[in-house]
Amino acid sequence: MTEATLTADATAARGTGEPMIVMEGVDKWFGDFQALKGVDLVVGKQEVVVVCGPSGSGKSTLIRCINRLEKHDKGRIVVDGIDLSDDVRNIQEIRREVGIVFQQFNLFPHMTVLENITLAPRHVRRWPKAKAREKAMELLERVQIPEQAGKYPGQLSGGQQQRVAIARALAMEPKIMLFDEPTSALDPEMIKEVLDAMVDLAESGMTMIVVTHEMGFARAVCDRIVFMADGEIVEVGPPEHFFENPQEERTKQFLSQIL
């Protein structure tokens, strides 16, 4: 079972060493189907973790539990010292700290790019309009599409939309960014522009958990790779370890299929 593979560096987080996200024995059920089976994971401050595994293995569920888009049924999740409980205030507080980028972008189609990005800062953080706007333009510069500020999401390419989604999440100045297969819905020629934005973010010291099949990104950027199968964490390790010397049979099988 899992204990065997949870080697020393699995629970000991990297980054600065301080834990940012702690998950202990997290279970999640969808009806009769168990999506997460006693997941233990600690992510350190400024650490970048890539989660991979076959479809249906619980990767998305894992990160969606962190900001309570899914409610875990058992176990404990602590985000930056805040215990994720049923208390609405706790949930709101955690959501301010955690940004998420979805596979399908989920931009608000009835708002312009600028409105998409300034919405939460203005209504949740109660920033004045000018400040929110300034921050939004700064973020659009950072993801290199300031000229699209006045357009609607439907007028942008997939890659541009996903970069707007990244800017929207960053506008709340989160301490943690979650990415749920951010490049899976993109045409091949647009994947790089999104990955570039993510690399830039990782280099700036953001704590990130990235569910992705982009192994190039994993190799180049991440501190640890988490391999999941059937709702369990099968293997955890730094990328060089993970790619060169996988321990588990299921990991080897998975790698042979995608590499």
Partner: protein, 421 residues
Amino acid sequence: MATRVDTIEPIPVPEPERPPTRRVPPQEWARENLFSTWWNSLLTVVFGAALAWALYKVTRFVFFDAQWQIVERNLRNFVVFHFPRGETWRVWAALFVVAGAVGLGAGAAATRREIEVEEGRAPAGGGRFLLVRRAVPLVLLVAVLLAFARSLEATLLVLAAAAVWLVFRLAGRRVPARHARWVAAIVFAALVAAYLTITAFGGVPWDRWGGLLLTVFLAVGGIALSFPLGVLLALGRRSTLPVVRWVCIVYIELIRGVPLITVLFMAAFALGFFLPATWDKPGLITRALVAFVAFTAAYVAEVVRGGLQSVPPGQIEAAQAVGLSPLRTTRLIVLPQALRAVIPGLVGQFISLFKDTSLVFIIGLTEILAVAEIATKQPDFLGQGLIVETLLFVSFIYWAGSYWMSRESQRLEARLGVGYR
């Protein structure tokens, strides 16, 4: 032998190809579309003849045979019925206020749209004479009313109202886009002012209104009140609180299971039982309005619920993830998308309401359809079979209103659809 390229010449860029345009001469078009087979030719001839005959009969009736005196002499009854003559100026004054308010709103909207087009967020659409084309049904209606009125005074007043509209539209064009919210508030205040112009300061309370004025009042009041109520019911039906959900479901299903006439009768004759005994019994028109609002709200709720279901769950997740509260998520993310998805259904419901106001004549109110019936019983017109004339006139009024609403809804859809393309 291999060919060699000695000089680098610019590759000629081919002219961009255009889709082939086909100009078909009329004879050929007719042969293709009307007489392609012997069976189609037969259909064309038969239906063409029937159409021509119907057209001839209608034209002949409308312009030669019809006894339009009944409409001419009852025009005042059709428009306001027993509204006190001395107070008619109030209706005109209200018309001026409404013309100004609508003009201001239209001007501000046009400016906003212009900015959107300039910034490349909306397609430049509409084409020439858009304003005129949009107003066609209403202009037609006013023209017919004035033709029957044959009054210089009325014509001048209508032209003056049009001038007020134009002046305020020009003023509205100069309102900066960021003040759009103020314009909306002013327009709303002006509509209230128009209502007060008629009723307040020794005016005529709405329980004494009649004719077209009553029809429009019931339709506008019904739409304005049933829409928010319907949205609340739709949201309530999806509430996580079982009590709220069940109250909404029971209300919607009860109302939808009952004919409108029953609801009207109930409001007219049974509403007293539901109110505290100490309350004054509300007037008949108030009760009719309550019935329309209660009835239409249930249907609006179901239409809106369809829209709510069409909003992808990812939208709500994204709103939650950036920390928006459930209330803000609904107001800022879900409702705007849900409502624009159901504009056709909503407007259909409102057109129904507009035409269903004619049913109030069965509880003793005198809107235009009732006037059409009463007029034929006047001594001068009794027993002359003139109901065809009055019905035709009233039908035309209903058609003009409904068609105008339908066209405006199509325009609204086209305008709001931009973000999706």
